[in-house]
């Protein structure tokens, strides 16, 4: 087991490095850097000095060096937990992460909880009543959540709240620890919208897991022993089919941090997503790199944990 864990951990590092290199290179392929944007957007200095200003700003920020050197400098800092200084916010990027990460995490966490609470029971119902109208209804409802682009659901919610209730979630972000009620008022609608969107795959997986487990021998045995159908379903089948669902949710949770960008924008939540979009449009490289790095880290860590959990529960996998 230790050996397996160590090996998995070893593979974790190149994946993370790969992700950081990818975003580093990709960012620099986007036309325009911060120097050009600052100078040309204002467009006010005489054209003869604009080019000079661009060069000066690049030199100040070290953008005139070869990209490999820039990456190594960044990496050198990152391994020591120093992600550099944000160009736009003029403060250490770690400070930005510390401020924004918990907010996005909260939204992602709430979304997952709501999605699970809603989708798992539906999946069970759907499986138990396979091919009945209940099954069809549940599947139609859950798949319809996938069918609308998430921004559209968000905008519609916003519009309907104003139109019918003349009410809008708070525009000023308040931390959960300062004022839980105010905080939840702000997060409830983006949570519901996003949860509805991601519940379909969870429901789908619960359903198919249940269908499979229900047919397995020990469930049949339990049934044959005369256990009530209900008890069989909940005690035996559900417990055994939930593991892959948990796996999947863990895997999805990692992706969600990036996915909530649009909800953050529409509901004015100053999380990592809004910071990231702003940083991309300003070419604030250190901020983008750090945020994407953290998102990748979360994703890979969750993946790793899920793998280790699996390896621990099912020894066969370690030797596969």
């Amino acid at each position: 087991m230790h050996q397996y864990a160590a090996r998995r951990l070893l593979l974790f590092v190149p994946s993370l490095l790969g992700a950081s290199i990818l975003i580093f290179v990709l960012l620099r392929l986007v036309p325009g850097d911060i120097a050009e944007i600052l100078v040309y957007q204002a467009g006010a200095e005489s054209s003869s000095v604009q080019e000079k200003h661009v060069q000066e700003i690049r030199r100040e920020l070290g953008l005139d060096r070869p990209i490999a050197v820039q990456y190594l400098i960044w990496l050198g800092g990152a391994v020591r937990g120093d992600f550099g200084q944000s160009y736009i916010q003029q403060r250490p990027v770690t400070e930005i992460l510390r401020e924004r990460f918990p907010r996005s995490l909260e939204l992602a966490f709430l979304t997952l909880v709501v999605a699970i609470v809603w989708a798992v029971p539906l999946g069970v119902v759907s499986a138990v009543r396979q091919n009945t109208w209940a099954d069809h209804l549940v599947r139609v409802v859950s798949i319809s959540g996938l069918s609308l682009p998430i921004f559209f659901t968000g905008v519609l919610i916003l519009w309907a709240l104003v139109r019918f209730f003349r009410w809008l979630p708070p525009l000023e972000f308040v931390s959960f620890f300062d004022d839980p009620a105010e905080n939840l008022k702000q997060l409830i609608f983006p949570t519901l919208a996003q949860a509805y969107y991601i519940s379909a795959p969870i429901m789908r997986l619960t359903r198919s897991q249940m269908l499979e487990v229900v047919r397995q021998d020990y469930v049949r045995t339990a049934r044959a022993k005369g256990l009530a159908n209900r008890s069989v379903v909940y005690r035996h089948a559900l417990a055994n089919s939930l593991l892959p669902v948990v796996t999947f949710v863990g895997w999805w949770g990692g992706r969600l941090l990036g996915g909530i960008v649009i909800m953050e924008i529409i509901f004015a939540i100053p999380g990592m997503g809004t910071a990231l979009v702003q940083a991309v449009s300003n070419r604030d490289y250190p901020t983008v790199q750090a945020i994407v790095f953290v998102m990748a880290l979360v994703f890979l860590t969750l993946n790793l944990l899920v793998d280790l959990l699996y390896g621990w529960l099912d020894p066969r996998i370690r030797y596969a």
């Binding site: 200095e45 736009i88 916010q89 003029q90 525009l171 000023e172 509901f267 100053p270 809004t274």
Partner: protein
């Protein structure tokens, strides 16, 4: 006529009257008779997170907007009548007989927000800072550098500014909200003004809180040098990035004011009106922004003046304004009479010139002839467009008009910031639409920003000796009548020639003010008069 029909008629007459009164500034004049009520917090929004807060180093409106009430200038736009310029920190000023030396006499007893006394040394430090080429000050610096030689503190309450020559727009430039006066001791302590802690001004409000990406809060400066002001206890600006969110906030009454970028469209204004009814006052305002179409003068086909002329002749500005701007704009004008006043060539004359006149048939025929002369089978061009706002919609309209004369454009869109970087370097052939906001209403600004050889936004790399010379003369001419003649000549020259940047329209937009908000006046530029020093909230 039955009584039933009278009501809508009455209503439309009434709304017309209100519209006229508002445009004359009379409607708010009536409310000025009420006694201002102190207290309350005004809420509005800023369209993006400002990030760096150095008012001298940054150029986005968001930075100006979140700092406006914190600082004072030597001069400013009169909050009671923003078309006029009056003293702010300067009580009065005199001009030397040769017009080259301005002496500003400063107010006594002004304190910085940290309690330190304000003196002429602060004014000198500010001017030295923005005039220093190493500072790279894009707004105040780029305006003052060409005309100001030096600034000296004569005594603690007197500052002398020496100009390089008697420059006509000097007072206009000095009054810009971008030329805010910063404290010498703060500059020395922080090095620059980027950080929230460095926001120490002499303005009516103190910079209280900056929750990044969420809210910017000001609180009343109890030691403000104008006794009794400000009326408000504070101002809150929410950072709202998405347009649907901005509109929803306005409709829900969470923001009391919309005088920022982007302006509302007609449909948004209607929607807001339906939601808020008579709680809000909606108006159409100029945003001191010109819609230009750029052609690169060193790349085919627009290196040929005939082709540039053809584009000018073919563009149907009236249609563009009607469709792409929903009627909110002044077609074809090089200068907008509402902003530049008498310096603008009268619209009656503009609208008779080839290219601007209606109907278009004759001009289109001529344009077609010009294109066919060089490209018998027409010509294909790539049209670069930043994908912001309704730029792509506008571009499509422009291209559909040019197709009639054999110029076939295909749109290539750029992400907003990427567009600036690419255009600034001149990597384009044709830009069907690009807005350029003016920082002041001085008539010379447009020419020195867009049309002279060395202009910062002369992206099409156009060189014309006559334009350079006239622009320079306009800058130096202090006689108002002579100056007017110079700019009229320039405008006629551009409209009859083949410049790189074709004026399409001056853009206007819809704004609103919650009726509880009293004493707010729209300034002729988006950057000015956002201090809220005389604004108050009715019950």
């Amino acid at each position: 006529m039955t009584a039933r029909e009278e009501i809508p008629l009455m209503r439309s007459v009434l709304s017309l009257m209100i519209a006229i009164l508002t445009s004359l500034g009379l409607a708010s004049g009536a409310s000025a008779q009420e006694k201002p009520r102190p207290g309350g917090v005004l809420n509005w929004y800023v369209y993006g997170d400002p990030g760096r807060l150095d008012i001298h180093l940054e150029s986005p409106l968001s930075v100006q907007q979140v700092l406006a009430g914190v600082y004072s200038g030597l001069l400013h736009r009169d909050p009671d009548d923003p078309t006029k310029i009056t003293g702010d920190l300067a009580e009065r000023w005199t001009v030397s007989p040769d017009g080259k030396v301005y002496t500003f006499h400063l107010r006594r007893g002004v304190k910085w927000h940290d309690g330190q006394p304000f003196t002429s040394a602060d004014v000198k430090a500010t001017l030295d800072r923005v005039l220093n080429p190493a500072t790279k000050s894009p707004r105040c610096g780029s305006m003052l550098k060409p005309i100001v030689a030096s600034a000296e503190a004569v005594d603690p309450l007197t500052v002398q500014v020496a100009l390089k020559f008697p420059a006509a727009p000097f007072l206009e430039y000095t009054a810009s909200a971008w030329c805010a006066i910063a404290a010498k001791h703060v500059l020395e302590k922080f090095g620059d003004l980027s950080k929230p802690e460095a926001q120490i001004g002499t303005g009516p409000f103190k910079f209280k809180r900056y929750e990044r990406g969420s809210v910017i809060e000001w609180e009343k400066n109890k030691d403000y040098f104008r006794p009794g002001l400000p009326y408000l206890d504070g101002v809150k600006q929410f950072v709202l990035v998405g347009f649907p969110t901005q509109l929803a906030a306005a409709k829900a009454g969470r923001v009391m004011l919309w005088d920022t970028w982007p302006p509302m469209k007609k449909t948004d204004a209607d929607e807001l009106q339906r939601a808020r009814g008579n709680e809000v006052e909606i108006g159409q305002n100029s945003i001191n922004t010109i819609f230009l179409a750029y052609m690169h003068t060193q790349k085919p086909p627009f290196d040929n003046p005939d082709l540039r002329r053809a584009v000018h002749l073919a563009l149907d500005r009236q249609e563009i304004v009607a469709k792409a701007l929903e009627g909110a704009g002044i077609p074809c004008a090089v200068l907008d009479p509402k902003l530049a006043g008498e310096f603008a060539l009268p619209l009656e004359e503009v609208n008779k010139l080839p290219g601007c006149r209606q109907p278009k048939d004759q001009d289109i025929a001529e344009a077609k002839r010009l294109v066919e002369k060089h490209y018998p089978n027409g010509v294909d061009v790539e049209a670069a467009v930043r994908s912001v706002g309704n730029y792509v919609d506008r571009a499509q309209l422009v291209l559909s008009q040019l197709r009639k004369i054999g110029i076939r454009g295909t749109i290539k869109t750029y992400e907003s910031a990427a567009g600036f970087a690419v255009f600034g370097k001149g990597d384009f052939v044709f830009l069907p639409t690009q807005d350029r906001a003016m920082v002041t209403v001085d008539p010379g600004d447009l020419f020195s920003l867009v049309y002279t050889t060395d202009a910062g936004s002369n992206w099409g790399k156009w060189t014309d000796k006559k334009v350079d010379e006239l622009t320079d003369r306009g800058l130096r001419e202090t006689n108002r009548e002579k100056r007017k003649q110079i700019y009229w000549e320039l405008q006629r020259y551009l409209l009859s020639g083949a410049p790189s940047a074709v004026p399409v329209a001056w853009v206007e937009g819809y704004h609103f003010v919650d009726k509880r908000v009293r004493g707010y006046k729209f300034a002729p530029t988006v950057y000015d008069n956002n201090t809220f020093m005389k604004v108050w909230l009715a019950q």
